[in-house]
């Protein structure tokens, strides 16, 4: 996750050789571009911290081939998105500040939601163990999504990226969200299926990733 974080910043600061030389180290005059940088960086810093301090993994390590695939995916998309958002010819959203504000709200809410779910999932499993339990909503309103969905962390993640896409009105971001959504849906369905298999009393109303729909 440090990769996408770093790579995006290269584009943000308009490091030489990316855009024409007259743009080296210049800064965009659009507020939304600065906001986007903050959001993107926040997202990956959050992920890094969660990996270090929050997540409790059932498997020890990730296979090497996966790491290569993962990195290519994250780094590639980060570069692709960052290139357009930080481009000197970037066009801000059609509906201006309204669109940016709304999208930013969606992004922030979903990031908070995603974090809440990660914390809730962590509290399900005592430190050092590998127990598996059905997640339920807690006092935190963000976790109430557990009533409708098995993997609300993925739901919030997709929501965050949709927010980011609307905020930047950038097609590559929308495509990244779509690809991420596809992958997360596959994972969510798998998780949902294993929940159903493992727990007889699994709440029937829940869908894998999108309430009532998917």
């Amino acid at each position: 996750y440090a990769g996408p974080l770093f790579i995006y910043l290269l584009f943000y600061f308009r490091v030489p050789f990316i855009y024409g030389h007259k743009y080296d180290f210049t800064s965009s005059r659009h507020t939304v571009v600065h906001l986007a940088c903050i959001c993107h960086s926040f997202h990956y810093v959050k992920r890094l911290l969660e990996t270090l301090f929050v997540h409790r993994f059932s498997h020890g390590t990730m296979p090497l081939r996966n790491i290569f695939k993962n990195c290519t995916y994250y780094w590639g998309f980060a570069a692709w998105m960052a290139y357009y958002i930080n481009h000197p010819l970037y066009t801000p959203p059609t509906y201006g500040a309204q669109q940016v504000k709304l999208a930013l709200a969606i992004f922030v809410i979903c990031q908070l939601g995603n974090f809440s779910i990660h914390m809730a999932l962590r509290d399900l499993r005592p430190a050092g163990s590998k127990t598996r339990k059905i997640p339920y909503p807690t006092k935190n309103p963000f976790t109430w999504l557990f009533l409708l969905v098995s993997c609300p962390n993925y739901t919030y993640e997709v929501g965050s990226w949709i927010g980011f896409a609307i905020m930047t009105q950038c097609l590559p971001v929308a495509l990244f969200s779509l690809v991420g959504f596809t992958q997360m849906t596959i994972w969510a369905k798998g998780k949902h299926r294993s929940y159903l298999k493992e727990f007889r009393d699994y709440p029937p109303l829940r869908m894998p990733i999108i309430p009532f729909v998917l």
Partner: protein
């Protein structure tokens, strides 16, 4: 590449004809093929495709005899070529629903590369339609497909003449490089016209903050032939050794 890819992966995965254990590449294959309805459909499909490519072959010969030259023969077979090559998309469906034991991904890759060449290059860049390179890959594809589809037809009916099997696993040695050359030369010929017309390209600034350079994309495609072509080619040579030597053994025991 599209020419050989079509034959390569299909051979590698044991053919697109659901051969019910004809022992093509291995003697210990389970006798599992498509059901009778699926088999009937596949036989019809493969017969129709064989016929279609024969039409293209005949069309080429007739046009050559009529014109007296081999230039610009594309126009005489343009419609059947588009129809039957695009129809091959059904093969992806066949894999997806399981009546053909090949991989969906591999088959998609093959068919899409053919369809790409037909529509996104030859059809879209009218100026290359008179190039001789087009004829080069059309001939390669035509011969390959006639053999391939008749191979599947016979396999499905469990009566595969050795000649067809031999042809399928031998002619590629010449046809594959021929097809690849035709394809690459055609894409290369299309480049200046793509650049000139800005074909399928979008540049900044625009309200979706996106750009695509079809010219650069085509160059990337050409470069991708470099790793892919040798892999497929040598895979097919390997398949050839396996298949044709296995048949020799079979003959010994008769």
């Amino acid at each position: 590449m599209a020419a050989a890819a079509a034959t390569a992966a299909a051979k590698g995965n044991g053919g697109g004809g659901g051969r019910a254990g004809t022992g093509d590449a291995s003697g210990t294959r389970k006798k599992k093929g498509p059901g009778p309805l699926a088999t009937a459909y596949l036989v019809i499909y493969n017969v129709v495709m064989t016929a279609g490519w024969l039409v293209i072959a005949v069309g080429l010969v007739r046009a050559y005899l009529a014109k007296g030259s081999y230039h610009s023969l594309y126009y005489s077979i343009e419609k059947p070529l588009k129809f039957f090559q695009t129809g091959a998309l059904l093969e992806v469906l066949h894999c997806a629903i399981g009546i053909v034991p090949s991989s969906v991904v591999l088959t998609s890759f093959q068919v899409m590369s053919r369809v790409f060449l037909i529509w996104a290059v030859t059809h879209s860049v009218k100026e290359v339609q008179t190039e001789d390179s087009v004829l080069l890959f059309v001939i390669a594809w035509t011969i390959t497909e006639i053999i391939r589809y008749s191979f599947y037809t016979f396999s499905l009916l469990n009566h595969l003449p050795y000649l067809i099997k031999w042809a399928r696993y031998t002619l590629f040695i010449v046809l594959y490089p021929m097809g690849v050359s035709g394809e690459l030369l055609t894409i290369y010929a299309a480049l200046p016209f793509v650049r000139q017309a800005g074909l399928y390209s979008i540049s900044l600034p625009n309200k979706y903050n996106f750009s695509f350079d079809y010219y650069a994309f085509l160059i990337l495609i050409m470069i991708s032939y470099i790793p892919i072509f040798p892999q497929l080619y040598f895979h097919m040579i390997h398949q050839r050794r396996k298949v044709l030597s296995h048949t020799e053994e079979h003959k010994k025991f008769e």
